[in-house]
Symmetry: C2
DNA sequence: AGATGTAGTCGAACCGGTTCGCGTACCGTA
DNA sequence: TACGGTACGCGAACCGGTTCGACTACATCT
């Protein structure tokens, strides 16, 4: 019934009460050797009666694995985006599916105590690394320590590393093409904050690259906006855009948190979506559906990514020498109601 | 330099290379007994050279504590609110401050494997329990297992339990008084989702109680709205409210996630804030500042709460017999720009 | 000089599991 | 009846730390 905290509740005690040796109890529990039905039942009865659960630390010490993985998240000071939050939730759920626990480590800087504990004290069997920068010292640190890990996102060209990522460049390319097909000639990219971009945040750089390339390919005019990850910044950014570049008729965004502000700025400028202005981008699906009108966008499949990353990690833990795998996900653009044909240009008479 | 994963890197190896016994290395590291400067230096040199870090499981087993706490969060399926997210971040940060790691356990239901592991396998030294319901089996389970824990939120009257919470009833009372002082006579409470309220979610019930009481005290008309935790629901809710009860001139909210929708509904109805309609409530500060106009609201001090909860937990871990403490936080209402004097009633001639 | 104290170190036991090698009882078979 | 195989269980070693008691060498006090 109750927990094993207080009293001397351990495998030896179970063994004593069941009249067998400690090893027999262990085997009865793990099934790694045969134990007679009668004995097993007797042991099980004692266990059920006392509510015994094996001590995790002792087991980890003996087995040489902790049944725990580390999840390295951006530090709390930089507020997590909703997408990241979703991802954390999905990871925890995916881990629970395979009976793994998740240890959280907030680490942006490189010489982080919590991160160091993770890699060097055998606290976890493997690590999921979020918000990887294009040059990222933590990747080297993990490799150095021979700690199995999978990146959520990927650094610059590193074929030995295992990761799952979203194809920001390709997806933004699709968004641009979609807008071009609708007749838009001048469009903007709403990117993340200048600080984040400056640290070499992969998705921002790749979104930019995809944008520049696609804009060129379709012969469009393109403007990139660096915008803080909050509604206020979004409002300011878009207000400024509309003032300076009134010819812009569409927006592709990778900055979800700014969306409420985008909406306000458009409202204030009297631009109605999608009649006067189209919006699309890469957005977690519930944000897309929270927007009015619902956003036509590439829905980030956070749950999928988490599951994939987890199974990659599990595989990597069981066989660290296996060849590295990369998964570049490219979810389709879901058509909703925020994009439409470009407005007919207002010609001066 | 590198980590201790691969090779036989343990305290015995350090001892051998430094030419001392294992216990001496242990004492040199912990400082629990005197070790001569010369020896200590020699040991430290070896450690630095090899990059040794003690194995966490072994240490936990020997010391009888894991230096890890569990954070029980609502399951991922129910999307976490921004406030909860903030809180998770703050907790992790507060834990890092005192060199504790955080193990995440998503658990809403009662017979959760991950939760059970937490309480019964000695995986953590203590637990922080989020989203406590008014009747909550997990509280009993933790007490049963003699696991030190602190609630974020509190169940019905339970003086032995240790918790930190926000004074929803009192704060909503303050909000109502603030609105009454401004001359509003008909106001609404924007509460959380019907499902959540049905499960006996404390804050919702206490907010309701505080609202009902204050409305009565000030002789106002009050309407309670149960509203899903997302912008869409917020929009529908408020649209309906404005249609059915056009006399309502102000809103107190405990539902942050619905705010963007609230804004849209008011815009569509042509009500301008704060001229035609006032809004206040209990809101994480950055949401309050993301709103336009910025919200006059009681800012939830998530970082504070996390720090307080953490220190309570640390204390409880070191002395489980200490008397239980409760902390009912009541942050002041920050005056911003979303409330103003009630509009002059439109009299029919 | 002998008694006393103290700083520094060692060896062994312990934390609570897992795993390996071996012994024994019982089975069927030659 | 002797033999080999199998099913079952035991004891001991091990995982990598911490901690306690004891021992040594040397300084101090009387």
């Amino acid at each position: 019934m109750s927990g094993p905290q207080g009293s001397g509740m351990n495998i030896g005690e179970i063994a004593r009460r069941a009249g067998v040796s400690r090893s027999t109890v262990s085997y009865a529990l793990s099934g790694k050797r045969q134990v007679s039905d009668a004995t097993r039942r007797r042991i099980q009865d004692v266990i059920d009666e006392l509510g015994y659960r094996p001590n995790a630390s002792a087991r980890a010490l003996a087995e040489g694995r902790t049944r725990t993985i580390g999840l390295v998240i951006p530090p709390a000071s930089k507020r997590l985006t909703h997408m990241q939050l979703d991802f954390v939730g999905s990871v925890v759920e995916a881990a629970a599916q395979v009976d793994l626990d998740v240890l959280l480590s907030p680490s942006g800087g490189d010489h982080d105590r919590s991160f160091e504990r993770l890699v060097s004290e055998s606290r976890v069997d493997g690590v999921l690394l979020m918000e990887i920068r294009i040059e990222d010292a933590r990747v080297d640190r993990l490799r150095d320590a021979r700690m199995p890990f999978v990146g959520i996102g990927h650094p610059a060209n590193d074929p030995q590393m295992c990761w799952v990522d979203i194809d920001y460049a390709g997806l933004i390319g699709h968004c641009v093409r979609h807008l071009a097909d609708l007749g838009h000639r001048s469009i903007a990219l709403l990117n993340r904050s200048p600080e984040l971009v400056a640290t070499g945040y992969g998705p921002s750089h790749r979104a930019r690259a995809g944008f520049v390339r696609a804009v060129e390919e379709h012969g469009l005019k393109g403007v990139e906006l660096l915008c803080g990850d909050d509604a206020r910044s979004g409002q300011e950014c878009i207000a400024e855009l509309l003032a300076n570049d009134p010819g812009i008729t569409a927006l592709a965004t990778v900055n979800e948190a700014a969306l409420p502000g985008v909406q306000r700025a458009l409202d204030q400028a009297g631009r109605s979506v999608p009649r006067d202005f189209s919006i699309t981008g890469i957005v977690a699906s519930h944000w897309a559906e929270d927007f009015r009108p619902a956003l036509t966008a590439a829905d980030v499949p956070t749950a999928d990514m988490a599951t994939q990353a987890m199974s990659l990690l599990v595989e990597r833990i069981s066989d660290p020498t296996a060849p590295a795998q990369h998964l570049l996900m490219s979810p389709p653009i879901t058509l909703r109601h925020s994009t439409a044909a470009a407005p007919v240009p207002h010609r001066e008479p």
